[in-house]
């Protein structure tokens, strides 16, 4: 079977779903010799109604908070089934990774299981209706952090999960985005070739949750990278080993203004603009700290 079809068509993702794009790219890289674990979330819901599975590879959805722990159990068992060369890959959303699954993930990292944990980051609990997660970026409105008279959306910064993964001393941590499929696929191939716990975070824009036309999903991922808000890098043993430079750095406004989840920042007077400023500062800091610019500006 074509690796590009290991996620079968007929699944129920929204048209233009960034997660579906990511998963197809990831499975193209792993091929059929893989066991996938997903926590509750968009991916699980749109691929597994009873009798209608989009998975052509073995796949298990346990609960919301325990994909990493369940993957640990599978990984431990495989050698007794003659399958020790079958990679175990988790594909979980930011909800099940950054928040409710955080403890179990840390445990899996710490125990050193041979598992590739891939987080598809659409920056909110999208499956249940666009509620705020710790991955929701500064200033974004969600249904549980809405803009209003007393609120400008989420006022906390995005939790830095890649840094947390790095702090566990993993041999491989990487970020990726669906707009650079060859990069993502290469990173997945590389990760599964290592033994030990690996973490890859893939930025997967959500047209419904962020508020933009479905056709722009890939472009939105590209803009996020080009503003510096989404650094693309690889790390090993707590140190950055490779960084993808941005060709032409774009101001964050070019990204933010295209999404309905930020529109309140443009009509809330000086306070809204101050948040926009803070977002630009975050991008500037990323560019400086990670060395994202191609040349001196």
């Amino acid at each position: 079977m074509e690796h590009g079809k290991l996620l079968a068509p007929g699944h129920r993702a929204c048209p233009g779903c960034g997660v579906a794009v990511a998963v197809r790219q990831i499975l193209s890289a792993t091929g059929p010799n893989v066991i996938v674990v997903s926590p509750t979330g968009c991916l699980e819901t749109f691929t597994s109604p009873y009798g209608h599975s989009a998975w052509e590879v073995p796949w298990i959805h346990p609960l919301f908070e325990n994909a990493a722990a369940v993957a640990s159990g599978i990984e431990a068992a495989l050698k007794y089934r003659g399958l020790k060369d079958t990679p175990v890959v988790v594909m979980g959303g930011d909800g099940g990774t950054f928040d409710i699954g955080f403890g179990g993930l840390s445990g899996m990292f710490e125990r050193g299981h041979n598992i590739t944990y891939i987080c598809y980051d659409n920056e909110a609990y999208m499956n249940t209706g666009i509620q705020r997660s710790s991955a929701t970026p500064l200033g974004a409105a969600t249904t549980t952090s809405p803009a209003g008279k007393l609120s400008l959306g989420k006022m906390e910064r995005k939790k830095d999960m890649p840094a947390i993964a790095m702090a566990h001393g993993l041999d491989y941590v990487a970020t990726a985005a669906i707009c650079y499929p060859k990069d993502l696929m290469q990173k997945v191939k590389k990760a599964v070739s290592f033994t030990g716990p690996k973490y890859i975070q893939v930025h997967t824009p959500c047209c419904v949750g962020w508020g933009f036309e479905p056709a722009l999903t890939v472009e939105m991922a590209r803009l996020a990278v080009q503003t510096g808000l989404m650094p693309i890098f690889e790390a090993a043993n707590g140190e950055i080993s490779a960084v993808r430079k941005i060709g032409r750095v774009r101001p964050v406004k070019e990204y933010i203004e295209k999404q309905a989840r930020f529109k309140h920042l443009f009509n809330s007077g000086p306070e809204g603009l101050a948040v926009l400023e803070r977002i630009q500062e975050l991008a500037n800091k990323n560019i400086a700290v990670w060395g994202l610019a191609s040349r001196e500006t």
Binding site: K5, V21, Y50
Partner: protein
């Protein structure tokens, strides 16, 4: 059909659902402009594009008409047209 023990499901059974019925717009490929680069295949969320004879072919049974392929095509070979016209 009887239910499975533990609600397990056989692989690829999502193909029973013809998501092509969801479309409001459909991608139309200009086969002369298309150079078979395959980037659309990597960006399609629905496994509904393949390259055959160096040309992009859309699987209209499943294509949801999201428009990513048209937007990302390196040759601007795909245009979105209203479904049913």
């Amino acid at each position: 059909m009887k239910l499975t023990v533990g609600a397990v499901v056989l692989p690829g059974t999502s193909k029973k659902t013809k998501t092509g019925l969801w479309r409001a717009t459909r991608p139309v490929v200009n086969t002369k402009t298309c150079n078979g680069c395959g980037i659309c295949v990597l960006f399609c969320p629905d496994s509904s594009i393949s390259i055959a004879d160096k040309t992009c072919q859309i699987d209209y049974e499943y294509c949801k008409g999201c428009g990513i392929c048209a937007h990302e095509c390196s040759q601007k070979a795909i245009t979105m047209q209203e479904e049913g016209k």
